[in-house]
Symmetry: C2
Subunit: 488 residues, 2 copies
């Protein structure tokens, strides 16, 4: 087999799409790649690693760390998958293994697809499921929603990519994004060769934002000739774990309206709300309606987050508000080219927005599973946050929502110098050291962008509750020795 | 609720990404959209439509038209979804409803994911499944394959989009595509603002191609300054239903090598081969290896086609051959940004490439289901092709592969004039007429592009076998009256 040398290739790092090359995605970048290598090294019994497992806190992937799926979702899915279970002659056995309401649900969903769950659905997803989503939104917000303004997607990432692709009409377009942000945004904007226009969340104000700063950032970028067209909010925040105040939300909607910006509201963590009395979740859809605003809004949701955590299944939806009909038609066409979102992802969306109701056989179990996960996540968020704050040179805002903490580290000068000598950022040095000595995988803050001169990392608080003390001990052990090594 | 007038919107048909606007995707375009409306009209019992159902032949969507899924795929999926079925205390009941090998398979697959089928997998898909794919390719071709050169995707469409996005580095890039073609290619190339460089398949040579013409097309486009970088083949052909001769395949590989073109081989219909003695399937991977060629190849496969037809599930894979390592890393990064392909799509890929083996409990049923579907598809392809050829002014090549026929219609001048007066193509007039009077939905040939001055439509041959006579009668009735109306 002759393989010609790299220089004779058509595709090299220098000839491919430069905007692909520019993309960065730290959540699955250098640290997680090294962590995957370590997983393989651990399989070798003669390994000399100082830990016996890798704990992946780089990504909000609850079931990877042992979170159990919600039983009802899996029951309904199994029944729509293997429909022989629903045949009359098997029903006696099936009823021994599946509750009545899971059977009824499965039959309903099959009916919506003419018993062909294996066929492409409508491009935007099964119409009846989009109706369920609309009803869920109405009940959540107290304002009407329309199934035709909803598109099901294989996770929110697909929606983000599709929406940005629609909006970005030239390389002169700018999209305002919060800093810190989830790197899907910078990656997608880079791929589409547009400008990420950053506005900062204020760490010392619980990651709130300053409406005056929005104006300033916008006018600075407009002055440079950039066609700023949209503003992204992530609420609850990723990586910050914070919720915007209602005042901030009103400011944002007004700002978008005054400045003719489309609003993209990433609300995938809307069920992960840990201080509901002090800081409840409000959707941007609700704020837009309350203000009677004409802002064009895209709102995103997902089955990967919340207490469902069905990350591997890939499911979600977007709702559009105040969108021009011709533009909706173009979004439909984009969906059509990729045929349809996977059906079991759609099924999980249906159950997320229309769970078992009071009086139905699965109601109690569903609520209990949901609540157990919720309470445990809340407790873990507090415990891990307290643990971070107890460490030398670390401060960390509490998690009002989402699945992440984003602690700030103030590095000793010696650590910064040591990192500089290696050509790395100090937080990279820290996170890689943490991984190599404890098996804990977190993501350096630079991957999310951060205020210059500050250093953070993002960690999920998803390690199982019964292992959390030990997890904290591992981090503390590394942290103390790191500080001992570099203390000024 | 105040909605401002369309003119004050940020996003209008004139301000969105113009390359999105340019995309065309006829397979789910005007005809299918009208067909969906008719489905809703049929639900009204007082409708006056001259048919009682819509037959969707616009898209290769077998289960929509009643094809049964392969039992083993569904059994394994149900078990990995609802893992309570695998608990010791339930095993007695489970064994009554599931064969032993489905249970074993489910346990294996769960093991590969640490019992967390609901977690994100590796970005390129579960490693063990990629190893199964590599083994399948080795057995198919007789040449080595490497799991690290394989990426699982949510259907081949995702792979096409990702690969073209990687290759298209500027709006000056050209991608050679066959005409007629599957419109995903023109749509994606349009979205990425590159040039589709057409080469024609010769209808009178069973849709074969002419190596001399490839050279000519290439030099014409190079002379215009276009940076032609890749060539797409769809084999078996879509919409043509043809297979390339081995001679044609050798010509293509040599042509790509000589002219430094990347080869993208869309081989999703590789299991739909209806004249295997006369025209067997050869993969381009095999030809590249036989020729000891250094051509950079992407080969695509899917669970949506073949006899599996799990379209709604979204699963597939690509294999890269001779790709530079740095470029592979960039492909990995692109996969990472969208996290991972959905897990049950991956599960179906595993079973497609690694079906039950001789001696295992499910072997006979699996083979019988596969074979029944195959034989029926083959019979239907012949019967429908014969029926088209029996119609006035229609000629149609037989289907050597895939799921489609692409008959040519020679329209009377009067029909062409009538269409012109309506501002439509004659085949659009024909196809819309067919839909409105019979409920049969096919796609006008223009959606696939065709040699200027020729007119075609694409129809699947997927209507159920027991309804095929009636289906043919409906088409013949419309066709005859159309010709009566417009005969010169």
């Amino acid at each position: 087999m002759t393989v010609s040398s790299s220089t004779s290739k058509v595709l090299t790092i220098d000839t491919i799409n430069p905007h692909v090359r520019t993309m960065e995605y730290a959540v699955r970048g250098a640290l997680p790649i090294r962590a995957e290598q370590l997983v393989r090294e651990l399989r070798n019994k003669d390994n000399k690693l100082p830990f016996d497992k890798i704990t992946f806190c780089n990504i909000g992937n609850p079931q990877q760390l042992g979170q159990k799926p919600l039983t009802f979702i899996r029951q309904v899915t199994a029944l729509v998958e293997y429909t022989d279970l629903l045949k009359d002659e098997n029903m006696e056995l099936t009823k021994k293994m599946f509750p009545e309401d899971a059977i009824d649900r499965a039959k309903n969903i099959l009916g919506w697809t003419n018993n062909a769950i294996g066929a492409y659905t409508e491009s935007l997803g099964i119409h009846e499921i989009r109706e369920s989503v609309a009803k869920f939104i109405e009940e959540r917000d107290g304002f009407a929603a329309d199934a035709d303004s909803i598109g099901l997607t294989a996770g929110a990432s697909v929606a983000v990519e599709r929406i940005l692709n629609l909006i970005i009409s030239s390389s002169n377009v700018g999209i305002m994004i919060p800093i810190p942000q989830y790197p899907l945004y910078t990656a997608t904007i880079a791929k589409l060769d547009a400008h990420a226009v950053p506005y900062y969340l204020r760490e010392n104000k619980q990651w709130g934002l300053n409406a005056e700063e929005l104006k300033q950032v916008l006018s600075e970028h407009k002055a440079k000739g950039i066609d700023v067209r949209a503003l992204v909010v992530i609420n609850p925040g990723n990586p910050t774990g914070s919720l915007l105040t209602k005042e901030n939300m009103v400011d944002i909607v007004r700002f978008c309206e005054e400045n003719k910006l489309v609003l993209i509201a990433d609300e995938v963590y809307q069920a992960n709300i840990y201080q509901p009395e002090r800081r409840p979740f409000h959707s941007f859809k609700k704020i837009v309606r309350e203000l009677d605003s004409s802002v064009e809004l895209f709102s995103l949701h997902s089955i990967s987050k919340g207490m469902i955590g069905e990350c591997g299944r890939r499911g979600g939806y977007y709702e559009t508000v105040n969108l021009d009909k011709d533009v909706s038609d173009q979004l439909y066409k984009m969906a059509a080219v990729s045929l349809c979102p996977n059906v079991t992802g759609q099924v999980a969306v249906e159950i997320m927005v229309n769970p078992p109701k009071k009086g139905e056989p699965s109601y109690n179990l569903y609520q209990q599973e949901l609540n157990d996960i919720y309470e445990s996540m809340r407790r873990r968020s507090i415990k891990l946050c307290d643990a971070f704050n107890a460490l030398e040179n670390i401060t960390c805002n509490s998690a009002e929502g989402a699945m992440y903490l984003f602690p700030q580290i103030r590095f000793p000068k010696k650590a910064i110098q040591a990192a500089e000598e290696l050509g790395k950022s100090p937080e990279f040095l820290y996170c890689m050291g943490l991984l190599e000595s404890t098996g804990v995988c977190v993501v350096p803050g630079g991957g999310f962008h951060q205020e210059p001169g500050t250093f953070h990392f993002r960690s999920t608080f998803l390690p199982p509750e019964d292992q959390l003390d030990q997890f904290i001990e591992r981090i503390k052990g590394f942290h103390d020795s790191f500080m001992d090594k570099y203390r000024d």
